[in-house]
Symmetry: C2
Subunit: 342 residues, 2 copies
């Protein structure tokens, strides 16, 4: 790699001190600096194609203009879409994004946090894994600015931006009920992650609210690290083998829905009609299905932009925690029975 042009080179070329060059290029002390010399310095900088060495600058200013982004898996469309938005938003403010995939493991996430801290990131945006409370507390202890995204821990007072999962789930189930379904089932993950727990309670409360007795057997929980495909298939089999089988299913994520749909289809079950389906997360892929899925769309753009904004503000100055729940949009398509329009 070629040696880069430094302030020193410019200073030498113009015949002044590096201090003056620095002042000129940063537009500082403009009132004191001679116009003629300032001009010559700027020209020299351009001629030499000077670019600030951010490493050196960072060392001195103790600011890197870098954000660490830690997600479960950057190749998951949900997170990669977020990553893109965050990168774009950060770029607008002259920040650069460093990322890492924690693969839903608190340990890996902790390692990543430290790696990025060594690189002096100015703050973090994190989708925390299950049981990652200690990671979050570690950041708090060290006074590192950060914003949680997608998930949060109710007992930890900090910044977060997430979906109103409870409300979304409630809305989804009520949509099923309004469509004439009587026994909605749910397939979700077995996890203590707050966002998924809220989806569970949303489901339960929707039933209660509508005077439907919540049958434990109506809800199936898939282990995170199991073979998702076969677990989902088993769950569906069980839901349909009930004495009074469920007549509709709420999937708690696109991945669950994807596997579920394939299996349901293979069994020759008609959607809707035999079974109504609704899922969390965008499911454009289901456009290829004969019955495109009704889904709960997350406001990714808002989520990404807000979390970036909150983080940057917190880096400027410590603020009170900001906690935001955003609303999902119910996108009604063909997989749920037509709802009577009021």
């Amino acid at each position: 790699m070629k040696k880069k042009v430094s302030l020193k080179d410019i200073a030498a070329k113009v015949g002044v001190s590096t201090a003056l060059v620095s002042y000129v290029l940063n537009n500082k002390k403009t009132d004191r600096i001679g116009k003629e010399i300032a001009g010559r310095i700027k020209i020299a900088a351009k001629e030499l194609n000077y670019r600030t060495n951010q490493i050196a600058k960072s060392l001195k200013t103790n600011k890197t203009f870098t954000i660490g982004l830690i997600v479960a898996d950057i190749s998951n469309p949900f997170f990669s879409a977020l990553a893109r938005i965050i990168e774009e938003e950060a770029d607008k403010k002259n920040y650069t994004v460093i990322f890492g995939s924690a693969e839903e493991q608190a340990e890996k996430s902790f390692k990543l946090i430290n790696t990025l801290l060594d690189r002096q990131v100015d703050g973090f945006i994190i989708a925390p894994a299950e049981n990652a409370e200690s990671n979050v507390n570690y950041l708090i202890q060290h006074d590192v600015p950060f914003v949680l995204i997608d998930r949060y821990f109710p007992l930890i007072e900090t910044n977060w931006v997430t979906l109103d999962n409870y409300k979304a789930s409630l809305m989804a189930v009520e949509h099923l009920l309004a469509g004439g379904n009587k026994r909605p089932g749910m397939i979700t993950y077995n996890t203590t992650l707050n966002n998924l727990r809220e989806r569970k309670t949303g489901y339960e409360n929707a039933l209660r609210k509508n005077n439907i007795h919540f049958e434990k057997d109506w809800r199936k929980e898939i282990l995170f690290d199991s073979n998702i495909k076969s677990s989902v298939e088993k769950a569906i089999d069980e839901l349909l083998a009930l004495p009074l089988p469920i007549d509709s299913i709420l999937f708690a994520s696109n991945i669950l829905a994807f596997h579920g749909l394939k299996y349901i289809h293979s069994k020759g079950i008609k959607i809707p009609g035999d079974l109504s389906i609704i899922t969390f997360d965008e499911m454009e892929a289901s456009d290829l299905f004969y019955a495109p899925l009704t889904y709960l769309e997350q406001p990714l753009l808002e989520m990404g932009q807000l979390s970036t904004k909150i983080l940057l503000e917190n880096m400027d100055m410590k603020k009170d925690p900001v906690q935001i729940k955003l609303d999902a949009t119910l996108v009604v398509r063909k997989s749920t029975l037509p709802v009577v329009v009021k």
Copy 2:
């Protein structure tokens, strides 16, 4: 952000110079250093929870252990999968990845390259946009190590890892022909990007090789920045309105195939039977379709790992350009007529 522990703090605590602390923590000059003191330094470092300030280290060593990754769009599944692999591979070698989306624009990509160079990345992995030759030459001029991925420029001698697009395309069309199709069409992008041009010539040569006259009207080219959906629909309409309509289609990308499939389906055309379909890129989403797509699978893992490996080797020492074409795997599913097994 809390002040971090520095070498100085350890030195003060133990009562030695920072030099000694540095030697001990980096396991240098181990033969000269007193065992007892070394032990005390290590303990102190642990007690104070010392972590190297990589910024300072980088400034001194002129090495950041950082890789810049520039792709067209990180939220495109193809690139996000690559990003994940690259990050994982880099992490194994203690490198960190900084990324940016260039949105298929050479200009944006140039801006990104400079931003990341300011941050002193040690090298780049880049999926270059159309007309980004100047960017690549810029890197060469400045002696910056880099590897192109997915696309390359035939006239520029440099490192790249890409699919053997010509071969893959040829294989795809021959598969169609072997299945009994007589008039395969192709829907691709109108671009000078090398990977897509090779897909075009692969298609042409497959026809020639099989003594099928290549009709210009059989191939449709979609403008990159057009409304992809409507352009694809128009293309399909035209292909089917030919005096002798095409009987099969090769899509040059998953996005094209996705829109095409939806439209074909909406028109009630049967796949296969009425029309055979084959596409580039993984198309798991089509599992939901009644006829899962036959596709050309790219060896993403190998691609990501190889490009990272080549980059790291180049950063150690300048080497001759490495140029690798990897083979696609034809994954035969239901969208193409059964092929006679020889």
